[in-house]
């Protein structure tokens, strides 16, 4: 079973549509994870029934017992996250800011602080035509998205093992922060989707640097490739400089957004279909190579 994560650095380059297209090409069953939990769009392309949603709790939320509180405000002064405020002679906790660190409880002389689990979102598994899709919805402003991503991936891994799926595809979040770390760790390949613009090139560089730090093999797909030939050359060079294989170039076609808006994937557009298929074939060739290089094998010689 191989895990491929599709990420991008910059948002809007086409991660989700590419992941969806790969899912169609990968052969059933394929297990899908939408790791972009604060803007989870993969489910929009894969209709199907969801299992009942499961609550995701992460971290703690402070609670102040008004009966014990003497308004000394030591908690307010000690909190580094600006999570406490005085509202009409009561000390209230701002749920969206509280990180559950516990410092307020440490400094409170009246033992007025307690903690409850913080609801960070909910997640579920959807049955789609191609296989299960594990997806989530983060509560607004919630932190801990990395932890939620880890939970989704763990679930997906279990499903892949049970179903004997050969491929586990992860639609990653934009950026390079903690949710991206949780999406890419332990994957077999990072497919970095980019476009030939200075913004995307800039962010691709940062993402590839992250991949290097994580010792994660990386490859690049250049989307909307014919938008700017000079940009295309720069992306090709940047990928080569980081030792990232260029899997393919997908042409820009204004028909694509219209198809996506109608719930149809990339593969319905001629020209785009061939290019995407070439990219997927390159992924398969790369990950199903007969002898893994020695340094990639786990040193578990027993």
């Amino acid at each position: 079973m191989k895990q491929v994560v599709v990420a991008s650095g910059k948002g809007g380059t086409g991660k989700t549509s590419l992941t969806a297209a790969f899912a169609e090409l990968a052969g059933r069953p394929v297990v899908l994870v939408d790791a972009d939990v604060d803007a989870a769009n993969l489910a929009l392309l894969f209709p199907g029934p969801d299992e009942p949603a499961r609550e995701f709790e992460a971290g703690r939320l402070a609670r102040i017992d008004a009966a014990r509180c003497t308004l000394c405000k030591r908690c307010l002064e000690a909190c580094r996250f600006d999570a406490l405020r005085l509202v009409e002679r009561r000390l209230a906790v701002r749920e969206i800011a509280c990180e559950g660190c516990g410092v307020c409880a440490v400094v409170c002389p009246e033992d007025a602080v307690s903690f409850e689990p913080q609801r960070a979102g909910e997640w579920t598994v959807r049955e789609t035509r191609f296989g299960p899709l594990v997806h989530a919805e983060l509560a607004p402003g919630a932190g801990n998205s990395g932890k939620l991503v880890a939970r989704l991936r763990e679930t997906a891994r279990g499903l892949a093992e049970r179903l004997g799926a050969r491929w586990l595809l992860i639609d990653g979040p934009p950026g390079i922060g903690c949710p991206v770390h949780a999406s890419v760790t332990g994957a077999d390949l990072l497919v970095a989707v980019t476009e030939p613009t200075p913004s995307a090139l800039h962010d691709l560089g940062r993402l590839l640097e992250l991949a290097e730090r994580f010792r994660l093999p990386a490859a690049v797909v250049l989307n909307k490739a014919d938008l700017d030939p000079a940009g295309t050359a720069l992306v090709t060079a940047a990928a080569a400089a980081r030792g990232a294989e260029l899997l393919g170039r997908i042409p820009f076609d204004p028909a694509v957004p219209r198809h996506l808006a109608a719930g149809r994937g990339l593969l319905v557009v001629p020209g785009v279909r061939e290019a995407v298929t070439d990219c997927w074939d390159a992924v398969v060739r790369r990950l199903e190579a007969p002898a893994a290089r020695p340094e990639e094998r786990n040193d578990a010689a027993v």
């Binding site: 992460a58 801990n144 990395g146 932890k147 880890a150 939970r151 010792r215 786990n298 040193d299 578990a300 010689a301 027993v302």
Partner: protein
């Protein structure tokens, strides 16, 4: 050889318990004395369900109990760092082996060491 060897287990008791694949997430550890002087000890791993840093919690548990070596199939990077900082030797063993089988290989010196990746 002195010291204590800890093995993360997924089910079973004592020397018949089976190795769990992931160090930090195992529900319990069996700690054995390679010299056989002490009986095997079971340590519950309460931090197994933690979202982050389960491996660190497990490492802390083992350090508190004076463990000097651990054999597992896989170590997460933080668990590895924590255990090494505590001077614990890390060994690799395939999941599914029993504690007895792991102990035998440990004594015979045939367990592969977990090497620190050099970047």
């Amino acid at each position: 050889m002195s010291g204590k060897l800890a093995v993360p287990i997924r089910d079973g008791e004592g020397l018949a318990a089976r190795l769990h694949a992931q160090f930090g997430r195992a529900p319990a550890f069996v700690v054995v004395d390679p010299d056989g002087a002490e009986p095997p000890q079971r340590l519950a791993n309460e931090g197994a369900q933690a979202e982050h840093g389960a491996g660190i919690g497990a490492a802390a548990l083992l350090l508190r109990h004076g463990v000097t070596a651990v054999a597992a199939e896989r170590f997460g990077p933080k668990a590895e760092q924590a255990l090494r900082a505590g001077g614990v030797a890390l060994f690799l063993a395939p999941a599914g082996l029993t504690v007895a089988e792991v102990l035998e290989r440990y004594r015979a010196g045939t367990l592969a060491r977990h090497e620190l990746k050099v970047y």
